[in-house]
Amino acid sequence: MNLTNPQPIYLSIVVPLYNEEESVEKLLLGLLEVGRQFEFAYEIILVDDGSTDRTWDNIERLKKTTLQLRAIKFRRNYGQTSAMVAGFDYAKGEIIVTMDGDLQNDPSDIPMLLGKIEEGYDIVSGWRKDRKDHVLKVLPSRVANAIISSTTHVRLHDYGCSMKAYRAECVKSLKAYGEMHRFFPALASMTGARVTEVPVKHHSRKYGVSKYGFERILKVLSDIFAMNLIIRFSSNPLKGFVLCAVPFLLLTLFFGGLTLLALILQWTVGKAIFFMLSTALTGMAVVHLLALGVVGELVVSTSDLSHTRMPEITKKCIITNGEEQVAKRKVRGA
């Protein structure tokens, strides 16, 4: 790296850290080792997600000797996803690579991810093909992957892998929290990003404790459910709410028909009243859902969120053969 005449930063490596005091230094050394092969300027962004141990002190100490290091400290623990989003926000590079701070990902995979990006993909997701984790952690993850894969349009083997490379513009404006980093590819693909995956190395944990458990599985599953709903509904709210209203519309018609029958055939008064009230209640639900759908449509149309209908340029130009410049423009849903 030429320090006297700094080039613009090409690659930003974002690593969220939570209570990883032992790992920080090793992680940084590993990254710098890989960084030596790079012919471009890069930076390492460490995000301290409200650690209660000496993680931040270690980062500050390392900062003094490492020029490429930049860091963010959260006031409290907000979760991996928020840490990544904060890192994206702070990053200057054109390409952003994320990875785990617990040394389970291998920095030596970064050039491979970058290679895929240069092939023209916008997002390259790591796939821990040979996973070194406890079966109780792998199994729920498999289930989650299968659900995400079948419910979103993006098909990957391993959504939970933190090792991913993104073109910065694909993730700069992401809004996510909780465990939603799994959905970055799905969210970004809504704008028309091309997504692929490559197998990456995976090591077993050396320091610290795994931050997993039964509660986490529930959280991940409910996030998956919520995220699917949100993605679907926010791209076409009226349609979604109308679909929800259909069963109630059928019920309304059913009860309405019975009311008429009860009146015409002169069943007991109690029955007629019962069917009438049922018609009113289910009818109310239909009206309520349709009204919400319209309001939803209104909300989405006034938002600055362009991913739902605007075609977006995900890549301005690529250089092939070192000279020829090709402008590429992609339209969502193509």
Binding site: G50, W56, I59, E60, K63, R70, A71, I72, K73, F74, R75, R76, Y78, S82, A83, V85, A86, Y90, S173, K175, Y177, G178, S222, A226, L229, I230, F233, S234, P237, F241, C244, F248, W267, T268, G270, K271, I273, F274, L277, S278, L281, T282, M284, A285, H288, L289, L292, V295, G296, V299, V300, T302, S303, D304, L305
Partner: protein, 308 residues
């Protein structure tokens, strides 16, 4: 400048200038640089009269007047904008805690905290007021899972960043320590000596109780679910839906196994009602989620302490 004291002047009283003089003395004896900002909230010409009595202190006092009565949160934000101190000391218009207590609180902040919430001991207000206050605080403590005992004290001492990073509006001023703690600021509760109480005594107007209850609910929702409204509404909706389905199930069991008729009984109607209610609650949550997802993108989910 170290301290900015923001005095919220809401109910004018004769001893006000005396209180400000006293505040001035407390901080002058501490020796740190300070300023006093008086935010007069719809008190008419009262402030101007008082200022003539405070002439000797002009260098340290800034006074602002709102034309119409506004909320405490607005006063506080306006005060923050005009202030230049690192530490904000917010207080009401009379001396609620003793001078020694002020010093204790300030020392506690210096020892390493972002916001200090005083806990008044040896209270001098009528027993009934203490009782009401106790109920309010216990309820809030249980519901919001905090360990603060006295939110009603008007004195709050905090670093400037606390107010800059928290979104306080309406009557949420008293909940500032809770909101701040939720944002990751270090909150400390310090016992101090109660000095004087000038607020209303006895029963408040009914509307005051209702407003307070709504405030508590707002804070509850804001701190727990504002970023994920779907969670809140869908748990309510799911509960209702399950009750509805259970009743339906029960009614049908009765019909098919015991031969009781279904048609003209209210049970099934109740079931339908619960199901419809459940779907409505969940769908409102979904709409809320759509709003935060599409409109709240520029709002950060996290608070950053340091960047290097």
């Amino acid at each position: 400048m170290k301290y900015s004291i923001i005095v919220l002047l809401e109910d004018p009283h004769a001893d006000f200038s005396q209180f400000v003089k006293n505040l001035h003395d407390v901080f002058a004896t501490r020796g740190d640089s300070f300023e006093i900002l008086i935010m007069a909230n719809g008190t008419g010409g009262f402030l101007r009269n008082q200022l003539t009595k405070l002439q000797g202190f002009n260098h340290a006092i800034k006074a602002f007047e709102f034309n119409t009565k506004t909320t405490q949160a607005v006063c506080l934000q306006a005060g923050l904008k005009e202030s230049s101190g690192e530490t904000i000391v917010a207080c009401g218009s009379y001396q609620q805690i003793t001078n020694d207590s002020f010093n204790q609180l300030l020392d506690a902040l210096d020892e390493g905290a972002d916001i200090i919430s005083p806990w008044r001991q040896g209270r001098v207000d009528p027993g009934f007021n203490q009782f009401q206050s106790k109920i309010f605080n216990t309820f809030v403590r249980r519901l919001l899972k905090t360990n603060l005992h006295d939110l009603s004290c008007t004195v709050k001492i905090f670093r400037k960043e606390v107010l800059e990073d928290t979104n306080i509006y309406g009557n949420m001023y008293r909940f500032l320590p809770i909101v701040a703690a939720q944002k990751g600021f270090k909150t400390k509760e310090i016992k101090c000596q109660h000095f004087q109480e000038r607020g209303e005594t006895g029963f408040y107007a009914l509307s005051d109780y209702v407003t307070r209850l709504i405030d508590i609910f707002t804070i509850f929702f804001n701190t727990r679910f504002i970023k994920k409204p779907l969670r809140f509404f869908s748990s309510v909706g799911l509960g209702s839906l399950l009750i509805g389905l259970f009743i339906t199930f029960y009614v049908f069991v009765e019909k098919f196994f015991m031969g009781h008729p279904v048609g003209d009984r209210p049970a099934l109607l109740l079931a339908i009602f619960f199901i419809v209610l459940g779907v409505q609650a969940a769908s409102v949550g979904l709409l809320g989620e759509i709003i935060t997802f599409t409109q709240g993108r520029h709002k950060k989910e996290y608070t950053i302490e340091k960047k290097i």
